[in-house]
């Protein structure tokens, strides 16, 4: 059987950054497996700018950001197989993949890096009543058609959900001559970043209707209208508030789900809160030698942070490959009051790490508190904290003890 030191599943921003850092750390025997014909992942279709402000200090489009990593991966001569779908990963790290050029591949790896990214929630997840006409798209699918395939998806557009991709597509469709009638969000606050509300909606006079949802989809061959309604605080439509809006296109931007079917096959346990793997401070899953980073682990709002997380992961993978194991992480990190989830979920208490979290609802004038028992490890004051924004906190080993679980909460 073929053998590799490290197999990277997915050649998007996380996989590319991890591959480069592994090579920098002296790991020679690396293979990237990518399902699409080209490297770059979802960045290929994210043609708007705003990428790379943290990492490169300039505002790049998605394809430019990706190409900087792709160029380096190619310069470094890191082996990639594109147009290659990974079918299975076993808990003893045998990766099975299918590719048109190379047929069925079975490769044993010392370490497997899960960097598969995420996918979109669809109409099925919302169970919206009505017919099943053409013209209902998730935001990323609409983005793929418009930005990669030169197919205009529609002209009279309603958007359900205020996630960032939906906001970006509201602007994109408007620039291409479509009429975006409004964005409807079931929550009482927007799900996207404030700057996208401004530059994608307000700039183009696109109304945002909070506490509203689509309650019916109409049309036989093609979508002809949707019915929207106001919702109460438990997201139940309020009878009598229905309004029918003629449209030929409904774009859904209602959340992203880490794509973890392969992780489950490998015996990796998932956290119901992140829908990604339980990981320790090394980004190692509960299966030794299998690691995860980027949107497959938890959905990020900025690609710059995906790259950073993947690089931190690669540092740990390099150590794992050289030493054969990583320090045990016996302490639990618990998500306390107002915290939706935390990454990592386990730590050693003996090393520096980056703590990532999201708050459950918009909060003003709060403090994020990290503690072990009575000992406050870190307290970070925040003027505002939004669920749309991931919070990252560097935690220093010098402040930690190695025998008390950690709790993270917002007060």
């Amino acid at each position: 059987m073929m053998h590799k030191q490290a197999i990277i599943v997915g050649g998007g921003p996380a996989g590319l950054a991890a591959a480069l850092r592994l090579r920098e750390k002296g790991i020679e025997d690396i293979l990237i497996l990518e399902r699409e014909k080209m490297l770059g992942g979802i960045l290929r279709q994210c043609i708007h700018d705003g990428f790379g402000l943290t990492r490169f200090g300039e505002s790049l489009s998605g394809p430019e950001y990706a190409q900087r990593f792709i160029d380096k991966v190619q310069e470094a001569g890191i082996e990639c197989i594109t147009d290659c779908t990974v079918l299975d990963i076993s808990s003893d790290k045998i990766v099975t993949a299918a590719s048109r050029n190379q047929g069925l591949l079975q490769i044993r790896a010392d370490a497997v890096l899960l960097t598969m990214g995420c996918r979109e929630r669809t109409r099925g997840a919302l169970a919206t009543p009505g017919t099943r006409p053409a013209g209902v798209y998730t935001a990323g699918v609409a983005q793929n058609y418009v930005n990669l395939q030169n197919i205009m998806v529609g002209h009279e557009v309603v958007i359900l959900g205020s996630g960032d991709i939906g906001l970006i597509m509201a602007r994109r469709m408007t620039l291409e001559g479509a009429h975006v009638k409004g964005v409807y969000e079931v929550q009482s606050y927007p799900n996207g970043l404030p700057r996208n509300i401004q530059q994608c909606l307000n700039d183009y006079n696109i109304p945002l209707h909070l506490s509203h949802t689509v309650v019916e989809i109409k049309g036989r061959e093609r979508l002809t209208s949707v019915v929207v309604a106001a919702c109460d605080e438990r997201f139940r439509p309020i009878p009598g508030t229905e309004e029918e809006i003629p449209c030929d296109t409904l774009i859904l931007s209602v959340g992203l789900i880490p794509e973890n079917e392969l992780s489950l096959a490998a015996g990796v346990n998932l956290d119901p809160r992140t829908r990604g793997a339980f990981v320790d401070e090394n980004c190692q899953t509960e299966v030794p030698g299998i690691f995860a980073a980027g949107n497959v682990l938890h959905v990020h709002d900025l690609v710059d942070f995906v790259s950073l997380e993947a690089e931190a992961l690669a540092d740990n993978v390099a150590e794992y490959l050289k030493v054969g194991s990583l320090p045990a992480c016996g302490l639990e990190v618990k998500a306390g009051a107002n915290v939706g989830h935390v990454i990592p979920q386990r730590i050693s208490g003996t090393r520096d790490f980056t703590l990532s979290l999201r708050v459950r609802q918009p909060l003003n004038g709060v403090s994020v508190v990290v503690r072990q028992g009575d000992q406050v490890i870190l307290r970070r004051k925040m003027r505002k904290a939004l669920p749309a924004e991931m919070i990252q906190l560097p935690i220093k080993a010098a402040k930690l003890t190695d025998n008390v679980d950690m709790e993270v909460y917002v007060e």
Partner: protein
């Protein structure tokens, strides 16, 4: 006059509270960096934005090459610039950084390619 602006310069998206008279900023607060004040000042006098779109490519591995502006343009000229971008078709290959339209409509901003497209 008092207005709260959402700064769009970076993902922090600061809510900048600005006090101003006419187009003159008197005070700002809420911004984490000086770019927030510069943004509000610019926004009052002459709001500017960058845009991204795509142009058709013939003979390429993909039918479209993405493009963007190198500098922000006046907000009320966005659709004029879109019209210029939509009139362009490029032969493959194209490379990141290729200038598609120099100084578009005299607005001191170039339209540049942001994706490599090889010949099919």
């Amino acid at each position: 006059m008092k207005t709260t602006f959402t700064c769009i310069v970076c993902p922090n998206g600061c809510e900048v509270e600005a006090e101003y008279e006419g187009k003159k900023v008197l005070s700002v607060k809420g911004n984490l960096c000086p770019k927030g004040e510069a943004y509000v000042t610019q926004e009052l006098v002459d709001p500017r934005r960058t845009i991204a779109s795509s142009v058709r490519v013939t003979g390429g591995a993909m039918p479209l090459a993405s493009v963007r502006l190198t500098n922000a343009i006046p907000k009320d000229r966005i659709f004029d610039v879109m019209k210029e971008i939509n009139s362009i078709t490029l032969p493959a290959p194209v490379r990141i950084g290729d200038v598609v339209i120099p100084n578009v409509l005299g607005l001191n901003s170039d339209v540049i390619v942001t994706k490599n497209i090889d010949v099919l």
